[in-house]
């Protein structure tokens, strides 16, 4: 009975405060991270968080129309552009991991022997090995494009270059079916590792493969009606030491490494408007 009452009290609080809409990327949601850390926020503040998990590009588009109150995404360039456009404020770096080049264990392009991420991409290009691109506007897709650009190569239009147009999990499954290479965030890869027949051929923390997750509050002056007070409260909560440590500890026991390394607000790559 006391438990029921407590639940009702929490539920009542949740109903009392306006919900907070967080548009985010599939990697933080599908890994279960948000389900692990957001209930604590709701317990403390009574604010229910409604998570809309899409790609980074779509998350920023949704927030840019005032349809979300905050974003948690992973594409520093796009985040800077969002801030420049005056749509976001209060940027904070929450966590990072790295991107991984995954591919068939047979590794026909010799990616495992590559000296750097760019060398790995060049090897795939030279070998004409099948590569599956997200082909959407996601943070991972943006990074992949940046890598090709840094190599001075344009794979689009090549017969071996496929665009999946779907999320990271589905893209990994597709790459496994085709025994193709793909760029993935570490978190999704670790989660899918047992389900897809792909090896992490290039998994080294080099700057070009840094995957940084940033939080922004939607600017109420530019987009009136957004719940910026709750968005700022969530920002403070996510940056708190104990919550940051919880982010770092998430699934660490299961995978033997952190899925998301806490940044305590200190960006590895500066996001300047």
């Amino acid at each position: 009975m006391p438990r029921t009452l407590a639940l009702m009290a929490v539920f009542g609080l949740a109903l009392a405060a306006a919900p907070l809409r967080l548009a985010t990327t599939t990697s933080v949601n599908d890994s279960g991270l948000l389900d692990a850390i957001l209930p604590g926020f709701t317990r403390e503040t009574g604010v229910e968080v409604q998570v809309i998990a899409v790609g980074t590009g779509q998350a920023l588009a949704i927030a840019g129309r005032g349809d979300a109150d905050a974003v948690l995404v992973h594409a520093p360039d796009l985040e800077a552009r969002f801030l420049r456009a005056g749509k976001g404020k209060g940027h904070a770096c929450l966590a990072y991991n790295n991107f991984v080049i995954a591919g068939p264990a047979a590794d026909p392009a010799g990616v495992a022997a590559a000296e750097s991420a760019l060398d790995a991409m060049r090897r795939i290009y030279r070998a004409g090995a099948t590569f599956v691109s997200r082909g959407d506007n996601s943070g991972t897709y943006h990074r992949e494009r940046a890598l090709w650009k840094a190599c001075g190569l344009e794979p689009r239009g090549r017969a071996w270059y496929l665009e999946s147009g779907s999320g990271m999990g589905a893209t990994l499954a597709l790459a496994a079916e085709k025994q193709a290479y793909t760029l993935t965030d570490l978190g999704t890869y670790l989660f899918m590792r047992d389900k897809v027949d792909l090896a992490d051929l290039f998994n080294r923390p080099e700057p070009l493969l840094l995957n940084q997750y940033g939080y922004m509050v939607v600017n109420p002056e530019r987009l009136p009606g957004v719940n910026y007070k709750a968005a700022y409260r969530l920002r403070a909560y996510l940056l708190r030491d104990d919550v940051q440590r919880a982010i770092g500890a998430y699934m660490k026991a299961r995978f033997g490494q952190s899925l998301f390394n806490p940044l305590f607000g200190r960006c590895k790559v500066e996001v300047v408007p």
Partner: protein, 215 residues
């Protein structure tokens, strides 16, 4: 497959409520429209028939996108605060179910209109009684129309994702949950959700058919 995962029932309940409300809404508009258009030739009736039949092929994602732009805070109806709510999903699915229900009703009524009118008028009935009799005599195909409308609503995923957002405990329905679990690579759960979706459709259709056959 569903043991130890109570959330599947919450999701199923929401699917039923959203698709049921959408079917009801579409029926409230679609049944009178279909009967009215089918009972006798109307001005512009042929054009309306073409639009309804073509509407059965309305792409859900396009319907979702248009409603998204309407309901967005930056859109004309943004002040309603409907985006990413079950209500927005009901409206989107009602738009998709309406042509099915109105179209099939129209076709059924049209086929019976001449005979029923001759009979009812011959017995001294009014035009209003003609329409009521047409509705009654068309009840079996109308059940098919309702089943098609419900099926379109409950199985739809494109519009539900765009205007609903697949928010856990809020707008997640069976179809959007299938997409989520597939994306996560949990194909067993995705398949379990798919099985429940088929079961729900089967049960609701059985209920409608039995209801149409009674008396």
């Amino acid at each position: 497959m569903t043991a130890g995962w109570p959330e599947i029932w919450e999701i199923t309940g929401r699917s039923l409520r959203v698709a049921g409300a959408a079917t009801l809404l579409a029926a409230l508009a679609g049944l009178p429209l279909g009967v009215w258009l089918g009972a006798r030739p109307r001005p512009g009736g042929l054009a309306a028939q073409v639009i309804l039949y073509a509407g059965m092929g309305l792409p859900p994602v396009v319907v979702g996108l248009v409603l998204y732009l309407l309901f967005s805070r930056s859109g004309p109806l943004g002040w309603l605060g409907l985006l990413f709510t079950p209500t927005a999903m009901v409206l989107a699915e009602a738009v998709l179910a309406l042509p099915m229900i109105a179209g099939f009703t129209l076709a059924a009524v049209q086929a019976r209109a001449a005979g029923v009118r001759r009979l009812v008028r011959g017995l001294g009935g009014t035009e209003r009684q003609v329409l009521a009799t047409l509705l009654w005599e068309s009840r079996r195909p109308i059940v098919a129309a309702l089943a098609a409308g419900f099926g379109a609503a409950v199985s739809e995923v494109g519009a539900a994702t765009i205007v609903g957002g697949d928010i856990r405990h809020h707008t997640r329905v069976l179809t959007t949950a299938v997409v989520l679990e597939t994306r996560k690579g949990d194909l067993e759960r995705a398949l379990a959700l798919g099985a429940v979706l088929l079961g729900v459709t089967l049960l609701v259709t059985a209920f409608l058919v039995v209801w149409g056959e009674r008396r």
